[in-house]
Symmetry: C2
């Protein structure tokens, strides 16, 4: 136990050293949890630092990501980073960022937005239990302030209901938030009562007593339930200049030498962390995918094609898993649930937990498809942002996009989803218009890196492509193109059909118009758009989305490289819709074929 205390002090010394060197970072939030992590590292974590991708490694997530100096001090104690790198904390080029990211091979996911690490930990625990079938344990260091996040309670509920006894939440109850005392201070009974009501085992400990901590970890492993260790700690513990002080959040200690001396000076303990029995690789090559195919002329909703393609993917690819937010009847993810119940995860109406679980699963090598209404994915927007920071590979699908859903009204219409997804780091945005295209893009997403977003439509639309056609990311499909085209109409999804109707009507009136189906909204097929603009001098964009941030803006962006500037008219949903039939909605929003025809005429009259 003395050795554990010594290790705790070593971690503290390294926390104050690296934050002082950086003159930045959260020293006090690391100091409070140092004993908790010392005991974990020395006696309970099972991890092969030489092979961080070994499937059977335990997972350690700092949900309180701002305590990163403590995590890095643990890596130093495990001998996996040297002192020079430790002291590079928060400097340009260092892997030791202000908050942990997977640039470090021992970090699986990015944290730093509070309330995310535990829901992601639930994803790992679900993977361990139901997918990997491996005994690895998931340890999540949480702060007490972040327990106010609803996402944490989604995670507690989900883990409790699934009795994820491979998951341990280590809650550093240091009783001080950013701006003063937390809501409940050291009253861990409050937390314990709630957590027990959610099916968790809880252990109350003095977070600076290695013996109590050690017993708690053992109890966690044996409890048969997810376990929360409620550890009463002192923020800034060990350095009297900052210990328990309200104004010491997010700062280095004022006097390094004094602090190191008070902590008993530098030590050089190296911990030899044992590993679990290796489970080896995770290769799941699968078979060729036999996608569903549809006859041109058939009327099929793209959401339905998505659901059918998903079943086909599941048949062929053993790594495909599907998560639902209790709307699988609508998104058609329910088809997969019936075909592959063992790889289907019902997350109920908890979109943050749903996306977080997928983040955890993809970090374990699974290929998660996550679907809800396009509008409701916004519930998890910050999780998706952080997934981008963490270079996660996610397949996100938003159904019921746009006014074309009809009578349900604006609360159910995703009208800002494209705008919200385009800036997500490393994202791809796909918006198919027919069933064959949807099936192909659904399949393409599986192997495409980064955050892939697919937008589907509620109502049935005609199949316009042969099943054999391919639809690469970054491509487009050009219709009605001719040498003498006067207008180019760029559309995607439901508006492709309106654009084709408009082009036919315009052609009858002697105005040849081509239609570009920009199913790959990001990356956009800029070359095809620029070529069309150069040939016609007139571009109309039309989308079932607000006029801001969607397809129209993507086209404008592509045209900044154009040599000759075309006239551009952007058609989007201009005013707040209400309830109406789908056709009425498209007309009222000014994005149906008649609006396109009017826009083309207006452009021709101007030039």
């Amino acid at each position: 136990m003395q050795e554990l205390s010594e290790l705790g002090q070593q971690l503290r010394v390294d926390v104050v050293r690296c934050t002082h060197k950086a003159q930045s970072g959260h020293a006090t939030s690391g100091l409070s949890a140092a004993d908790l992590m010392a005991v974990l590292l020395a006696r309970h974590l099972r991890y092969d630092f030489a092979d961080p991708h070994e499937p059977n490694n335990d997972r350690l997530i700092f949900s309180k990501g701002h305590a990163s100096p403590l995590l890095y001090a643990m890596f130093a104690a495990a001998g996996t980073i040297d002192d020079e790198e430790l002291l590079s904390y928060r400097t340009l080029g260092s892997r030791l960022e202000g908050h942990p990211t997977p640039r470090l091979p021992w970090v699986d996911v990015a944290t730093g937005s509070l309330g995310q690490g535990l829901p992601i930990g639930v994803g790992f625990a679900l993977a361990g239990r139901y997918l990997d079938h491996l005994p690895y344990r998931v340890w999540v260091l949480c702060g007490d302030s972040e327990l106010a996040e609803g996402s944490m309670w989604e995670a507690f509920e989900h883990a409790g209901q699934n009795r994820l006894d491979n998951l341990t939440a280590v809650i550093d109850v240091n009783a001080l938030g950013q701006r003063g005392p937390t809501r409940y201070g050291w009253d861990t009974t409050v937390y314990a009562t709630r957590l027990r009501a959610l099916g968790w085992h809880t252990v109350d400990v003095d977070g600076h007593d290695p013996e109590q901590i050690d017993r708690a970890y053992t109890e966690a492993a044996e409890s048969g339930e997810p376990t929360a260790i409620l550890a009463r700690t002192v923020k800034g513990k060990g350095v009297s200049a900052v210990a328990g002080a309200e104004d010491a959040h997010g700062k280095p200690v004022p006097d390094l030498d004094e602090a190191v001396a008070e902590l008993g000076g530098r030590r050089s303990i190296t911990v030899d962390v044992p590993a679990r029995a290796p489970a080896g690789g995770h290769a799941m090559p699968g078979e060729p995918v036999k996608l569903p195919s549809y006859e041109p002329g058939q009327e099929v909703a793209t959401r339905t094609a998505y659901g059918e393609a998903l079943v086909a993917l599941g048949d062929a690819l053993p790594d495909v898993v599907v998560l639902d937010g209790e709307v699988s009847d609508s998104t058609r993810a329910g088809y997969f649930a019936r075909a592959h119940p063992d790889r289907f995860f019902q997350c109920y109406i908890a979109e943050q937990q749903m996306v977080a679980a997928a983040v955890g699963m993809q970090a374990r090598g699974w290929t998660p498809y996550v679907a809800t209404f396009a509008a409701f994915l916004g519930r998890a927007y910050d999780f998706i942002r952080m997934a981008g920071v963490g270079r996660a590979d996610l397949q996100l699908v938003g159904s019921h996009a746009g006014v074309s859903i009809g009578k349900d009204g604006p609360s159910q219409m995703g009208l800002e989803d494209i705008a919200a997804f385009r800036p997500i780091y490393g994202s791809t945005v796909l918006y198919p218009c027919d069933a064959n295209q949807t099936a192909h893009l659904t399949s393409t997403m599986a192997a495409h890196p980064g955050i892939c977003y697919l937008r589907t439509t509620r109502g049935a639309t005609p199949v316009i492509y042969e099943a054999e056609r391919s639809f690469p990311v970054g491509g487009s499909c050009v219709h009605r193109a001719g040498e003498n085209d006067l207008v180019a109409i760029v559309a995607a999804g439901i508006t492709v059909h309106e654009a084709l109707k408009a082009a036919d009507h315009l052609a009858e009136q002697g105005v040849p118009a081509r239609v570009i189906d920009a199913y790959s909204v990001k990356p956009l097929d800029g070359e095809t758009v620029r070529d069309a603009a150069a040939r016609t001098g007139r571009v109309i964009t039309v989308e079932d989305h607000w006029p801001t941030g969607g397809l129209g803006d993507a086209v404008l962006d592509a045209l900044t490289d154009a040599h000759a500037a075309p006239r551009v008219t952007k058609l989007g949903v201009a005013s707040m819709p209400a309830s109406a039939e789908p056709d009425e909605q498209l007309h009222h929003a000014g994005i149906d074929s008649s609006a396109i025809i009017d826009a083309a005429r207006a452009q021709l009259n101007q030039s």
Copy 2:
């Protein structure tokens, strides 16, 4: 009690009638809650239907907004809409939308995205208790499926901690979700245990027994705690063709005549709902605001100016209230907390509850300022979207925007906030670059309608404007303009200072360049941008934000109306940042003065 049962049946008849007429809508979700709402309307609601804006009215929120037909049936029973309007449900032009919106004067906020009504109800209850000091009660009809949303648990916790005994959650436990059974079915004990742990009083009732329901409402009013009525109900109750059926969600009943007959036929009960003693108007004119002023040349962070302006607003305007997500040291909302503690609401790290509380407060006539890190406002993105649907007036402030925060790293940087906010319906996006501009815009927001978003910067920037200058929404400030300008640089916030440096450097080298400070990103001052583009033929946009969806795209959009197309170069954060000093970050991201100079040279070399 027989009369209450009759009223329940009348509500059911109207629910099935209007959904059948529309051939759309959630009949079964209304049928389950009809008795709960009948008893509320006839015996407990206090509401002046002739004066829906009377401050002392009770508030009724359908958190399960899809049960709107039941709400409209209540309005019909209260005599405030006629049968013709009832049957206009979900048709083009009708106020009776698929989900409730404030287009109806008796609806305060939009619902339909589950898990939002209760957190908003907490906002009303806080307003009633701490701001209005009125005895009105807040009634929220919740579904059981939506209890999976973390936002609901944020609300339960917040109400419990504040002992908001003016709040009653009526939970319609019909045990069926969209795609099958809910997580816990009719096991209301599960909910009761959790809610009690969060400081709520709970009452378990048969949701079809008017006597039990009536007693529960009385108990709620007297319990001294927020009360949840856990009502076991049958989805589709009263219509045997759909009652308890798993595949009847979101549909009209199959046979209207049969259903109406089974429900005992149409009735014509009109309920005379009593009102509370009127509290009269809510005029809070206030005094002229004495904004803080700063000397040009001073170095002041815009977040600091925001905090100081907020105090000044609070001094002068009694309707200004401030909400914090436990980061008030960083956002500087803490200044207001010290000056006006009675109008400061600590929401802890629960951004959804924070925004929802503000939505409730603004509906009661208060002017809420809500601040957290720009990145973390994304946690409440769906609430902000819905606030737009509900035509709410909100003042949202995101601090620590962009890479210029420095060492904390990407998890803390708002880099997609402008892109996310621009498409929000009726939104305004402001991004000041100096302290005087910030103070003015902070003040302007108070009276500006819709969702106003102000973006602030962490580090100190020089004051460049006189305190007397005005900064209208939709305006801009032009610097260094001359007749022979060769380039126009459009910047906002932190990059204005980089643009000015670049312009000075370029001028020294014989390249006159003007700088447009586009502090009003939406609406953008398109005329000034187009004028500059026409004069110079060259535009550079530069922003501390991803290149997608921000200032650069707003400028491109404005230039679609330009007569002659300029050459445009968009500078934004091109790759994922890590930790570094603020200056290093700006340089590495390619948005500092040197990047602007390079871009200008490249443009000049091309032409």
